[in-house]
């Protein structure tokens, strides 16, 4: 399968099954759609009115050479392989600890409803967190690298327990030859020097929630009394980002129908000095006034194009920054097994509520249909675990023929469930935006490779 498109003056060709990316001239661009179905003579007959015959022969020969080398029209040989991977024993390697089902902001789009996840306000005790880490060590089998996300609600509302759990994890990793990678996601309201120092010492990644421009942020991320949070959090986030040498953190925000010109929010954050940025589309019921609609897609495509071009310009001027959804590694990146199996929700990755229940990920918390077990008994809903384990690219009809499947891994199970009631479905708006972002990210590689 070959995906070809034009962007920012480049003719780009992605050989989907090998991951090879080619920049081609107009002749090759026009020959490629004919190459698999027509003979050389037929292709020449079709295009000789536009291109010289010698040039067409050269182009056809070059395409043949790359096909022979496994870099064009590479066959899909992965379906049997992914079945083998699925039959491997399940190990858990990551937990999302809901340290606090409570929050000091009242963000309008929050799926956790002010941190409560459709339930009661509660914070995780050290005993529950300790049992979760013990479970993870035991359930991880031979895996050495383990991850624990401190999440909420707002985890700094229960910071003492965060510190205790990190200390316990550091003790246990020596005993069991494991390596914990801790992360913290915070809205910044309670961020202070003590928390920053601790985060810099112990957190491999810190996610700092902010939506961009002041009016955009404060419209969607107010305090419960309605006042905005921007003025309070920006100086703290700037200080923390600098103290981490502008690495191993993200300022992370959400764009909605109220700021379809979101590229301005990304650039606003870059102008504030942040170098690791993610601004992502809201996922919300169509009835919400801020939900992204299909009719918004053309404008959003333009925004991603504008952002990509501006990022290239800034990169060339030595003022570059990272944008999470444009991060793509054409020479490296994960192996095929990882690309086809996705995020591991419900199998390798579980969310833990403050009282110790397991769910496939934070977006399923509070839905009893998806209760998978708890920290004391382990995963006892193995039927649900099997369903999630089988949820790979080949299990989703729409993904099988999609050029983006090795870069999105079949999308988000929670989004599919919330829109279609089936984790093996796809969320169409999410797919459309993902494909656009991949096209932009590859174009940026092409543009910067020319330097």
């Amino acid at each position: 399968m070959v995906h070809q498109y034009k962007n920012n003056g480049y003719n780009i060709v992605l050989d989907v099954n090998s991951g090879a990316v080619h920049i081609v001239d107009d002749i090759v661009y026009d020959v490629l759609p004919l190459y698999e179905d027509q003979s050389e003579d037929e292709i020449i007959a079709s295009l000789k009115g536009t291109y010289a015959i010698d040039e067409l022969k050269e182009a056809i020969a070059e395409i043949g050479e790359l096909k022979e080398a496994g870099a064009l029209f590479t066959p899909d040989a992965y379906e049997d392989y992914i079945s083998e991977c699925t039959e491997q024993p399940t190990v858990v390697k990551a937990l999302c600890l809901h340290i606090a089902h409570d929050c000091n902001l009242a963000c309008r789009y929050c799926f956790a409803e002010e941190g409560e996840y459709h339930g009661k306000r509660e914070i995780m005790s050290f005993e529950v967190g300790k049992a979760a880490l013990d479970f993870l060590i035991k359930a991880s089998g031979n895996r050495r690298n383990l991850e624990v996300d401190f999440f909420g609600g707002e985890p700094t509302l229960n910071f003492q327990v965060v510190k205790q759990l990190v200390a316990y994890g550091r003790e246990q990793e020596k005993v069991h030859n494991k390596k914990f990678r801790f992360t913290l996601t915070t809205n910044g309201v309670l961020l202070n020097d003590e928390i920053m120092e601790f985060a810099n010492q112990e957190m491999s990644n810190v996610v700092l929630s902010i939506d961009g421009r002041k009016d955009v942020n404060d419209k969607m991320r107010p305090f419960p009394n309605g006042t905005g949070s921007y003025h309070l959090i920006v100086p703290k986030f700037q200080k923390l980002a600098e103290s981490r040498q502008q690495d191993n953190y993200y300022v992370r925000g959400t764009y909605t129908r109220h700021n379809l010109d979101f590229s301005k929010d990304v650039l606003h954050l870059a102008d504030l000095g942040f170098r690791q940025i993610s601004i992502e589309p809201v996922v919300a019921e169509e009835t919400e006034d801020y939900a992204i609609r299909e009719e918004d897609l053309p404008q959003l495509y333009e925004e991603y194009d504008k952002l990509a071009q501006e990022m290239i310009r800034r990169q060339k001027e030595g003022k570059g920054f990272q944008f999470f959804h444009f991060m793509i590694d054409l020479e490296g990146g994960p192996c095929v097994a990882k690309r086809l199996s996705g995020c591991g929700s419900g199998t390798e990755y579980l969310a833990v509520t403050p009282w110790g229940d397991f769910y496939p990920c934070h977006q399923f918390v509070g839905n009893d249909q998806f209760l998978m077990g708890n920290v004391w008994e382990g995963v006892n809903n193995t039927a649900l675990q099997r369903i999630f384990k089988g949820c790979n690219v080949y299990a989703k009809e729409k993904c099988r023929s999609c050029f983006a499947r090795f870069y999105c891994s079949g999308g988000c199970a929670a989004n599919a469930y919330h829109f279609h009631g089936d984790i093996k479905e796809t969320y169409e708006i999410g797919c459309a935006l993902q494909k656009k972002r991949i096209e932009c990210a590859i174009m940026m590689k092409a543009a910067l490779a020319q330097e």
Partner: protein, 40 residues
């Protein structure tokens, strides 16, 4: 090549043999950008 410039040399099909160790970070890390030690 005169008509085609290839940007990368790594091929996904070559990751089948040594891939699948599971030591990589979970992604939601995007799936496109992170390589574990084994695949480097």
């Amino acid at each position: 090549m005169k008509h085609i410039k290839t940007l990368n040399t790594r091929k996904l099909q070559n990751t089948i043999k040594k891939g699948g160790c599971g030591e990589c970070q979970t992604s939601c890390c995007t799936v496109g950008n992170q390589t574990c030690e084994q695949c480097k």
